[in-house]
């Protein structure tokens, strides 16, 4: 009996061990190509960083050093000598900040109205909003260009803010959220004599932290990287945001494909990667959410 029990236990143990080793091996086998693939994602970034610290002659040295011979800051000085990089950065911060704050306000207002208020024409307006997401922005490009010029916003940072002060996607995102808030909360406030503005401000907004954070991060990311709009509306260096400023820098003498350009690229990457590290979870949630909404 004891022997039987013992042998039974042993074979279970062996089975388990076998299973564990098997699982371990399949894990490793599955993970290996994925890990190699992920290196492909990092490698260009690592090279950019190492070249940004390198010296010109090292660009023609073979093999190109993955770790430069010395951490020289010449290329970084080169960036600031050629263009007002800080100005580009501050312009980007200003534009992105304004767009993000504006969208948080307008989208939450719109989302609240579409989710919780009754007014004539609500359905048709909302359907029109959604349909607009299908139309490529290039259809509206020339008329919007004329409108922006008419507003006196040509070559003005306002041209990069005003058209983006609200978004259909954000309104939709918050509408979906506000629809999940139980009626009782609102009813209680109504009995206490609260107006719609108070309900929005005191009840709805404080509850909407997570979707607002998601919207803020997605908006921040797309506004920070916007290139097409500045390309069309901005023509002087002191009004440029970072992506357009990069192209302007490349146009300067001796910058094309040099360490200076790499240094500027690294200066671009650092804030974006810090942003990514801090908000990674929210960003992932946001993308996932927008994906699930569509599916």
């Amino acid at each position: 009996m004891t022997i039987a029990a013992y042998s039974y236990g042993s074979s279970a143990f062996q089975d388990k061990l076998k299973h564990n080793i098997g699982a371990y091996l399949t894990n490793v086998l599955l993970a290996l190509p994925l890990i190699l693939g992920s290196l492909l994602m990092f490698l260009p970034l690592i090279w950019a960083v190492s070249f940004s610290f390198g010296q010109p002659h090292e660009f023609f040295k073979l093999p190109p050093p993955v770790i430069p011979s010395a951490f020289r800051l010449d290329n970084y000085h080169g960036v600031f000598e050629r263009v007002d990089f800080l100005r580009f950065f501050l312009n980007s911060v200003f534009v992105t900040g304004c767009v993000t704050v504006a969208q948080l306000i307008t989208c939450s207002m719109g989302g609240y109205a579409f989710a919780r208020l009754r007014f004539p024409g609500k359905r048709i307006i909302f359907i029109l909003f959604l349909a607009s997401m299908m139309v490529p922005q290039h259809v509206t490009l020339i008329p919007v260009f004329i409108i922006i010029r008419g507003m006196g916003l040509y070559n003005n940072l306002g041209a990069l803010i005003v058209p983006y002060a609200t978004s259909v996607f954000g309104t939709f995102l918050l509408k979906q959220f506000f629809e999940t808030i139980p009626d009782e909360l609102e009813d209680a406030a109504k009995i206490d004599g609260a107006g719609f503005l108070q309900i929005y401000w005191r009840i709805m907004l404080p509850l909407a932290g997570p979707p607002l954070a998601t919207l803020a991060i997605l908006t921040f990311n797309s506004s920070w990287n916007n290139f097409f709009w500045p390309l069309i509306f901005i023509n002087s260096a002191e009004k440029m945001t970072l992506p357009l400023g990069m192209i302007y820098l490349r146009g300067q003498d001796g910058v094309t494909n040099s360490g200076v350009l790499m240094a500027a690229i690294v200066l671009n990457l650092v804030p974006v990667l810090i942003f990514f590290m801090i908000f990674q979870r929210r960003l992932v949630e946001g993308v996932t959410l927008s994906g699930l909404k569509g599916a």
Partner: protein, 305 residues
């Protein structure tokens, strides 16, 4: 009695009216922006395609002449073909790879490795396309680029990544996949997490192996994510502009020139506003038709629970 009823009716009405006023107040910013920056521009953009207009003098009504001219415009047709091919390869690469990476990541047991891989593939998505294009322009140079250096060390000949027409096109597609595959991986990972684990448990009880579980459970239940990914990938790819504009400026020759690139040049380089507007209309119609077709076909292969 009647008085009270009338009174409460008017109260209800005034409540309704107040709610409606509040509603319009809250949607006012979004609605104004929608009218000024979308509805009016869309209508006038569509109308503009029927005019010959150089921005400075009065527009001439030319009917469908712009579209007739487009159908004979060799450069436009070439860029249309480039754009369609790019959309095809970039979409299949992004969506196909994204799906397999997601399935791979999802089947790994170690949580830390899962999190690491998800992050690694997603990082390029947050970097601006301009920076990505400038970086690869540097790394992919034919004679001094790092990539070619290591290829020659492996015994592979230098590849003219950006200087031959065929390779420039491939490079642009590969870079697009590098930047966007992580986004689609996330979409598929979300889809995978939505599959109830009972299904897999039931399959295990029935003795189904890894492959059967993949083809009978995972892939069918991922079709909604696949459907969504295909639609947004195609819409995005048909509007591609930045990476080519920065990396190759359409070249060599016109090998990487896209519809939006010629549209941009016609509008803001040559000031052929009507002609550029007609290109935008063609692009819009193509995107619309593709999306509608996909939605129609989707009913046949997308598995809805």
């Amino acid at each position: 009695m009647q008085g009270i009823a009338a009174l409460s009716w008017s109260r209800v009405n005034s409540l309704r009216a107040r709610e409606a006023i509040a509603g319009y107040f809250f949607i006012l910013p979004t609605l104004l922006s929608f009218l000024i920056f979308f509805l009016i521009p869309t209508i006038s953009g569509l109308g503009m395609s029927l005019f010959d207009w150089d921005f400075f003098s009065d527009p001439d009504y030319v009917g469908l002449d712009n579209f007739i001219e487009l159908s004979r415009d060799k450069l436009f047709l070439r860029t249309l073909k480039n754009t369609a091919l790019f959309a095809f390869f970039a979409t299949s690469g992004n969506v196909g790879l994204g799906m397999f990476i997601a399935i791979g990541i999802n089947s790994i047991k170690w949580r830390w490795l899962k999190a690491f891989l998800r992050t690694a593939y997603f990082i390029p998505f947050v970097i601006s396309t301009v920076v990505v294009a400038l970086m690869f322009g540097f790394l992919l140079q034919e004679s001094t680029g790092v990539v070619n250096y290591y290829l020659t060390r492996l015994g592979i000949e230098r590849i003219p990544w950006l200087s031959s027409s065929a390779w420039a096109f491939r490079s642009v597609v590969l870079i697009d996949i590098w930047k966007h595959v992580g986004f689609f991986t996330l979409i598929f990972l979300a889809g995978l997490q939505a599959i109830p684990s009972e299904l897999y448990e039931a399959a295990l009880v029935d003795g189904a192996g890894r492959r059967v579980r993949l083809t009978r459970i995972t892939i069918p239940l991922l079709t909604p994510s696949l459907f969504f990914s295909l639609i947004i990938a195609l819409i995005g790819a048909f509007q591609v502009f930045e990476s080519m504009f920065v990396l190759t400026n359409g070249g060599p020759g016109d090998a990487t020139r896209t519809v939006v690139m010629v549209l941009y040049r016609e509008a803001f380089g040559s000031f052929n506003m009507g002609y550029a507007a007609s290109m935008a209309v063609v692009l819009f119609v193509i995107i619309l038709l593709l999306t509608v077709t996909q939605v129609r076909l989707g009913d046949r292969w997308v598995f809805y629970r």
